[in-house]
């Protein structure tokens, strides 16, 4: 790891100021992606700004219509929350399956979505539930947030503060983890929301995406059978040593059907 300066501000304003005054600053949340990246010398920030000292960024609140989770809330806290389990069980289940217990004890929601790893879990829930991402500057709709591989709509110095997940009528999340790394090879988050049916696919392509053909089929008939015969085009799917594009495209259908089954309980 290259040397850097470390800061732990206690307010959002201070964090933003530290970033803008650094020659190459990076925000640190749980560090479960950033620290391995630094250790491999894939990044060499001049300043690392730890956001976990900002009290308002952490915590879970559940209202009648939404579950709101602070950006530095750890995966383990979401997985163990009785309120989240009751309001959106699929979200608690997703959080309980990220990485391993030690990663869940450090990793955060804000870090996961700001990084937007194609093989991350949380982006599927944010997009599948039509969540709203709150930052220190504005709110961003899920459909506008994830813009590409490791790319988001966040501007330089913009900090995710919380994510508001509308409570769906029902939802399910199923993933096929890589047998070695446990990262998502293909996952599907299916939800019946106030905005209609949403199907978010992660792991398969360079960025989480909505499967509109499946959404239309499920809107007519919310059952696994409704997805029979829907083929996913392998063009544009990830193709690497872990799985070919064709295999991933096939898994999209399998995971989506299982996610519908999970949503139906």
């Amino acid at each position: 790891m290259y040397a850097f300066n470390y800061h732990r501000p206690s307010s959002l304003d201070d964090a933003a100021k530290l970033l803008s005054s650094a020659s190459d600053g990076k925000f640190l949340a749980g560090g479960q992606t950033l620290l391995p990246t630094l250790k491999q010398r894939l990044a060499s920030p001049s300043d690392v700004i730890d956001l976990t000292g900002i009290p308002q960024l952490s915590g879970i609140t559940v209202s009648g219509s939404a579950v709101t989770i602070g950006a530095t809330t750890r995966h383990a806290a979401v997985a163990a929350s009785a309120e989240v389990k009751k309001a959106i069980p699929a979200l608690a289940k997703l959080a309980s399956g990220i990485g391993d217990p030690q990663v869940r004890n450090m990793g955060t929601l804000g870090g996961s979505i700001a990084n937007n790893d194609p093989a991350a879990d949380y982006p599927a829930a944010v997009l599948g539930l039509c969540a709203t991402v709150h930052t220190n500057k504005r709110t961003i709709a899920a459909d506008d947030f994830f813009t590409g591989m490791f790319e988001t709509a966040l501007e330089e110095g913009e900090i995710v503060t919380k994510v508001e997940f509308p409570i769906p009528k029902r939802a399910g999340y199923v993933k096929f983890p890589n047998p070695a790394s446990r990262y998502v090879m293909v996952g599907a988050f299916v939800a019946e929301t106030a905005d209609g049916i949403r199907v978010a696919i992660n792991g398969a392509g360079p960025c989480v995406f909505r499967h509109t053909e499946m959404e239309a089929a499920l809107a007519k008939n919310f059952s696994p059978d409704a997805l029979k015969g829907i083929r996913t085009d392998p063009a544009g799917m990830n193709n690497d040593i872990h799985a070919s594009a064709e295999y991933r495209a096939h898994l999209v259908g399998v995971m989506a059907r299982r996610a519908v089954e999970a949503a139906l309980g």
Partner: protein
Amino acid sequence: MTISVTMTVNGQSVTREVEPRTLLVQFLREHLGLTGTHIGCDTSQCGACVVHVDGRSVKSCTILAAQAQGANVTTIEGLAANGQLHPMQEAFREHHALQCGFCTPGMIMSAIDLVQRNPNPSEETVRHELEGNLCRCTGYHNIVKAVMAGAQAMRG
């Protein structure tokens, strides 16, 4: 540039001047001489370096010492009390839950965390919860047996 980091390790308050890039595992091993916490893979996968930070198991190779500022840290050296092994350590000894022993400190720290959250785990739960700990000797059979026995002993 160095920064001053203070934390409580195994019940004792410690302060060291360290480079900001110092990992918690380096802080424990190199600055405090607590070499019971092992570095296996150094890529956040193997779990040999698991310690407890404020009661939660974490991989100490994937957290900066600075992030543990003010925290309460427990390592494998902090488990035994008054010359008596912790019930989970005793269970690992009793069930011979090790071959080379390299993964053992991390396995025990993860096992204690899992039992604290789940006092009566099923075998399936134990196997799932140990997902972040690798045993290169593949000695999982006795490890799982030991964790089940250790859980029972911790329930008292």
